[in-house]
Amino acid sequence: MRPAFSVVLLTTLIGLGQGLFLALFTAQSYALFDLLPRQDLHTFYAYGSLLALAFLAAGLAASFFHLGRPERAWRSAAQWRSSWLSREVIVLPLFMAVVLVYGIAHWAGGGPALIVLPSGIGIDVTVLAGVLGTLLGFLLFVCTGMIYACLRFLPEWHSPLTVINYILLGGASGFTLASLFASVAAPGLSGFFGGWAIIITLLGATGRAASLLRNSRLAPRSVLQTAIGIKHPKIAQKSQGFTGESFNTREFFHGRSAALFSSVKWFFLAAAFVLPVALLAAALASTAAAHLLAAAFLVQYCGLLAERWFFFAQASHPQNLYYQTAS
């Protein structure tokens, strides 16, 4: 497939936003259960939510560039019964709304506890919004992942790993960002986020490696023989029917050299996983953590951009069997 920059941005940016939100609420939950020291971090969470919202909004904005007719984008919520894209379109704003509520609630100081659990833990609006947001965040990951994973003709995508990796990579980038953000806004939490960022990044590396390994072993189900229905071992296309280009020659093939393609792979493996883990680890061990964390975040985000590019580029669409040769 041809990686569309708008979609690469969309998926990585909202992944960041989702991950950041999850990180924030993870920290809050830890604190709730006294696994982290309680502090008054409402402003941290409020600004954190704003930050997450900013990434989500940027992702949403990017998505418009993918549409031929963005003015009609509102129509895309119509088919939630069957279309993961439609579902994503519904869940994303819902999620953003909840993040907004979460942020405002924090900004307003959290408010009174609405419910008090038997253990004495008070559940306020922030917690409710946090739980809801977490559910929606995960649901959004599932929707985004499923947009690709549900396409059974694209075997590289058609796997649970696609969804898992969307979650893990979004999560990893979100926690890395959270760590960076905390190093400025709530230094006490930076290490917590950083630790998780390392863990999730490593999990992400595992998941992504698993999918790379899986993809390298895929044999295409569709071949020229089934594409045109002729059973002969030797078939070659001589003409795709036109000598110029068409939507079919543009949309479904990355159009880059094999060399570039494989260097992108090595680049993203390094930039999305190896380097960030190293930088995060260094940051945890150092005092001038903010710079290292900033570097970790930037490197990882670039790595994820490359990863997403590769994710699209690697998917070989069976339609390409029909569009190989001009003459």
Binding site: K234, A236, K238, G241, F242, G244, S327
Partner: protein, 956 residues
């Protein structure tokens, strides 16, 4: 999109397509005066409702930004080819032309030459040239397929091409040779599909498997130029196995006629005649002899109860040794065995034998008997019409070689041996064919026919029957600029358009003043040696005068050719003009009878475009050419439609351009007084007139008394004599005799005698194409040919926004193994080099091409900026033209050059060239070569839009 739509009201007008020369009936649907949709007319006999890719893209031709909209003249001082023009008025154009032409006409009319390309109005252009008085007129036939026309017509009195074709409705075996996409485009496709569905067997003999060949049951790859060997070997096998139709040969051909074999006799190689009539007109008198088996003595052919020996040798009572023609044929093919042919053609000998048996056995065992009673020319009544259902079709794969004429004669003879001429399931004629062999039309045979201020005394094109018919000067030199009908190319019945520019430039045989080119791209795809010819067009004498002083081009588009014009006359499109597909030219007849048709404008002319027909009528009137003016010298015809209705070939002849609805009220056919409502009547009948012959006249027309007499009454032919098939060609023998110094006719100049003696063999023989003989084949081992792409017509569709997306550039197709041997990968840039030149292009591997052949789509490559394409268009940067590799001339003895053509007919030998291929250097430009300086758009042309979103009428 909304499914329930109501289409805005559409107006439907019927006319005839001209996206190619096939001439299908079309319905043009108009919305708000714009073309909405063009589909096939289901009530038209030719295409029966279907349409092709080109026909469906007519909209984009009509609205193409490459259309010329204004008369233009070359800016003073500008070079030809630079494309610098200024707009002028039609009045200025006419004044310039008529003044110049009048001067030529009153001094030396042959200094005006009119040559036309892929047009369909030779009836009018030919008339104009003749009235003007110039012998220098021809259309595209010489560079197209004259070998097919001449080879067949000199053998069976009819031909493939527009004049006849395979009867696939009834054939069981169909053998197609060297055809990619002929003019019988849609009808052929309809027929092949039906044939295949009915279980017929389809064999294609072609170095390349594309188009029609793709769906053949068997593909027989053959080396280019070697079909003669194949056909002769099949003939050998048919005779050896007795798989010929003896009854057919005896009665309907000259197989049994006795040939004089007295080498000292002036009539050596001629049929023995009982008596010679006063005047041997253009029919064959029944005065030849058979050797009768029953009485064992010579008798007049077709004598009641006689049965001729087809084999043996005999002595006449005066001691003259004679043999039946068939015996000579058998001797001729004795050594042409399948094993011999296998070496030459690359086809395994077993395959050749099998093909021969398939043909012979199918012809013999699957006979068709139709209960149609008819009477033959000798009065014998037949209860049935028999058919031997083996049909052939062949085109330029045979024709476009310098050995094509003899190869096509071999094909005609093969079809004859199988007994498939004008019979069900075989070859069928189309009116006005069959015609006598050769047809009666003759050119003048003396330069005296060209006189100032007089029409040419005779026709500019004709059918020589012996050397006395040649159009030569006293000293044997050519009268015509293209040297047609000269000793160099005696039977060049369609002229040699491909040599006009070179000859005129060199002044050999003489200089001309004005060259008018209509509808031909002679600076590009219809010229050989394109780079040099383009220079010749712009070449000047010492005094600064162009070697071809005045060049006028009539075209509808800005082409490579128009760039060289001094004066450009912008033509209309086919949707904007009247046209006739006339019986006097090439009508669209069907097997069952004559059909002609018309074009009726569906749109007004664009810009200042004017139909060339109107231009000729205007010029004819201004020049006061006799047929265009009345007794007082005033203009006789208001316009072309008026001319078509009222013109008669001679006053009161009743014969005109259109055959249908003649007579005052339209009650007559073929002959009759002008009918003022003729156009309306054509319009009411879907633009055509179809006369269906009675069934008993539909077959065996060479010898069908009823048909021949009908045809005589209708004045389709002058004589109703039977047209015996020329298994053995006396016409050719007469030329050979002259070359051998025998006979009573004129003799060729010494330097051409042996050429004529060699090639004018009365029986077909195989020789390597002339160019191959002059090529170092180790250096240039590959044959290079072109194919017609089905979705493009010659060079004229690159301006068509839809069609060009299908073929915006071309590749050289090379057999995979051949390519790998040369180290060429799929898609590589390569050089293709012949002894004449080289081009750089891209290679495409293919398994569907014979390993010794490379090929490409014809005329896809374009000169930068032509056709109002941007100079960096794919056509110019990646597309290429094979013509750069082909020479229009071959070295002959000494200083002499001879056209790269068939020595008999002058047919351009496009497919003889031999090439080598090698990888282009990695540092070389990834761009086709040669390149030409980009042309500028001509004044008055529309700007090319960056986007096209065509919607007829306004959208919403």
């Amino acid at each position: 999109m909304q499914a329930a739509v109501s289409h805005p009201l559409q107006e439907i007008k019927n006319t005839t397509c001209y996206m190619c020369a096939c001439r299908c009936g079309i319905r043009v649907h108009l919305t708000a005066g714009k073309v909405r949709y063009i589909d096939g007319n289901p009530d038209h006999p030719l295409n029966q409702g279907v349409i092709c890719a080109k026909g469906s893209s007519g909209i984009m031709k009509q609205y193409s930004p490459a259309r010329l909209m204004k008369p233009l003249k070359r800016r003073a001082g500008a070079d030809r080819g630079a494309g610098e023009f200024e707009e002028i008025s039609w009045e200025e154009a006419f004044a310039t032309l008529s003044e110049r032409l009048a001067r030529i006409r009153e001094t030396d009319p042959k200094k005006f030459a009119l040559f036309t390309g892929r047009d369909q109005m030779q009836a009018l252009t030919g008339l104009f040239a003749r009235q003007f008085g110039t012998p220098n007129y021809a259309a595209h036939g010489g560079f197209c397929s004259v070998n097919m026309a001449a080879g067949m017509i000199y053998t069976i009195g009819g031909s493939f091409w527009e004049f006849g074709g395979p009867d696939l409705d009834r054939a069981k075996l169909f053998v197609m040779i060297g055809t990619a996409e002929d003019h019988h485009s849609n009808p052929m496709k309809i027929a092949i599909a039906k044939f295949k569905r009915d279980g017929g067997r389809f064999v294609s003999i072609n170095p390349v498997r594309t188009g029609y060949s793709a769906i053949a049951d068997e593909w027989v790859p053959i080396r280019p130029g070697s079909d003669g060997a194949l056909l002769l070997a099949i003939i050998h096998e048919l005779i050896a196995k007795g798989l010929y139709d003896r009854d057919f040969l005896v009665r309907y051909t000259n197989s049994g006629q006795l040939v004089n074999l007295d080498a000292k006799h002036d009539e050596f190689g001629m049929f023995v005649r009982t008596e010679v009539p006063e005047e041997e007109a253009c029919y064959e008198p029944q005065n030849k002899l058979w050797w009768d088996r029953n009485s064992n003595r010579p008798v007049l052919t077709h004598s009641e109860g006689a049965d001729p020996y087809l084999r043996g040798e005999f002595k006449l009572s005066d001691g003259t040794p004679v043999k039946p023609a068939f015996q000579l044929l058998q001797e001729r093919v004795k050594d042409y065995t399948p094993d011999w042919a296998a070496q030459i053609t690359g086809i395994p000998a077993d395959t050749i034998r099998r093909l021969a048996y398939e043909m012979g056995v199918t012809a013999r065992d699957q006979k068709i008997e139709l209960p149609i009673a008819w009477t033959d020319s000798w009065g014998k009544e037949h209860d049935t019409v028999t058919g031997n259902p083996v049909a052939f079709h062949a085109m330029r794969g045979l024709a476009a070689h310098s050995n094509g004429f003899q190869t096509i004669r071999a094909l005609g003879i093969l079809m004859t041996l199988l007994g498939t001429i004008d019979r069900p399931g075989g070859f069928r004629h189309k009116a006005p064919f069959p015609r006598p062999i050769p047809p009666c039309a003759r050119t003048p045979n003396t330069p005296l026919a060209v006189k100032p201020n007089h029409p040419l005394d005779g026709l500019a094109l004709g059918w020589p029957s012996d050397p006395d018919d040649l159009f030569v000067n006293e000293d044997g030199s050519p009268v015509r600029i293209d040297k047609a009908f000269s000793w160099e190319y005696p039977l060049s019945v369609h002229g040699l358009m491909h040599n006009v520019i070179t000859n005129a430039w060199r002044g050999d045989p003489y200089r001309i003043d004005t060259l008018l080119i209509f509808m031909a791209n002679m600076a590009w795809n219809s010229t050989m040696n394109t780079v040099e010819v383009r220079k010749m067009l712009n070449d000047r004498d010492g005094d600064g005068e162009f070697k071809i002083p005045f060049l006028v081009v009539c075209d509808a588009f800005q082409s490579e050719m128009t760039a060289f014009a001094d004066l450009i006359l912008p033509d209309t499109t086919y949707l904007e003009r009247h046209d006739v597909m006339s019986m006097l030219d090439r009508p669209i007849s069907e097997f069952d009878g004559p059909v002609d048709s018309v074009r009726i404008p569906v749109l007004p002319p664009s810009g200042e475009c004017k139909p060339f027909q109107e231009v000729l009528i205007e010029l004819g009137s201004r020049l006061k050419l006799p047929v265009f003016v009345n007794k007082e010298g005033g203009r006789k015809y208001r316009d072309y439609p008026d001319f078509v209705v009222n013109y008669e070939t001679e006053p009161g002849s009743g014969i005109g351009f259109l055959a249908g609805w003649r007579g005052r009220g339209g009650e007559k056919f073929m002959r009759g007084e002008p009918n003022p409502r003729q156009w309306e009547m054509y319009a009411q009948n879907n633009g055509h007139y179809h006369y269906r012959l009675p069934r008993s006249y539909q077959y065996m027309r060479n010898w069908n008394r009823g048909y021949l007499e009908w045809s005589q009454r209708m004045r389709i032919t002058r004589y109703a004599e039977p047209i015996l098939i020329h298994l053995y060609s006396e016409v050719l023998q007469k030329f050979r005799l002259a070359a051998q110094g025998k006979g009573i006719t004129r003799k060729p100049p010494a330097h051409l005698a042996s050429r004529i003696a060699t090639y004018f063999d009365p029986l077909p023989f195989f020789y390597e194409p002339l160019e191959v003989e002059t090529t170092d084949r180790r250096k240039y081992p590959l044959a290079a040919v072109t194919q017609r792409p089905m979705a493009m017509y010659h060079s004229w569709d690159s301006q068509n926004a839809w069609l060009r997306q299908i073929h915006s550039h071309n590749y050289l197709f090379v057999n995979v193994r051949t390519a790998l041997l040369a180290g060429i990968a799929d898609g590589d840039w390569i050089w293709v080099e012949s002894q004449w030149g080289k081009v750089r292009c891209m290679a495409r591997h293919s398994e569907a091409v014979e390993p010794g052949t490379v090929w490409t789509w014809n005329a896809i490559g374009k000169a930068a900026g032509a056709w109002n394409l941007s100079p960096d268009a794919n056509e110019a940067r990646q597309g290429f033209l094979l013509n750069h590799l082909i020479s229009e001339e071959l070295p002959s003895e000494g200083e002499r050059r001879i056209s790269n053509s068939d020595p008999i007919t002058g047919q351009a030998a496009w497919y003889d060239v031999r090439v080598r291929i090698y990888k282009a250097g990695i540092d070389e430009a990834k761009e086709s070569s040669p390149q030409f300086a980009p042309l500028q758009p001509a004044p008055g042309m529309a700007k090319r839009p960056a986007w096209l979103a065509y919607f007829a009428g306004a959208k919403k």
